[in-house]
Symmetry: C2
Subunit: 87 residues, 2 copies
């Protein structure tokens, strides 16, 4: 496959990725509202650690675990910001 | 739905997300190899801009464009690192 073909493939993957990230954000938002109702803190380090452990356990490569976690750290930062702004 | 139900939903979404991010990384790796063969630079600002424009154009919310791009900037950083280490 040529570079242009791979890029078309990446564009398709990005469409699926944006849809999934958005679904994850909707779920995080729902959790943020539930936390507000129950007066629980937005930041829960134990839960974040569980997410990182889960993500590492299902990493098929070619990214190594640290690279994948690097992406997830940013993802979790943004989700936390969303939970704070929507409550 | 309770917080625990949303968390199970998020765990399922993470499984799909990790699979997609990994597919995207495989495609980026293939492009990295093709660039090496053609002696093209790894960093192509025009293409990165196109990716950001595409991502914004398909953003359904609830994240705003800047939040989504914040995640994508990290994703692109990591993909560039992968292209550099595998050539």
């Amino acid at each position: 496959m040529e570079i242009e073909d791979w890029r078309r493939k990446i564009d398709e993957l990005d469409e699926q990725l944006v849809a999934l990230i958005s679904k994850r954000a909707e779920a995080a938002k729902a959790i943020g509202l539930a936390k507000r109702d129950k007066q629980l803190p937005v930041y829960e380090p134990k839960r974040e650690q569980d997410v990182f452990t889960h993500v590492k356990s299902i990493n098929p490569g070619p990214l190594d675990d640290l690279e994948l976690l690097h992406i997830y750290e940013r993802l979790m930062d943004v989700m936390r910001t969303l939970q704070r702004r929507d409550i």
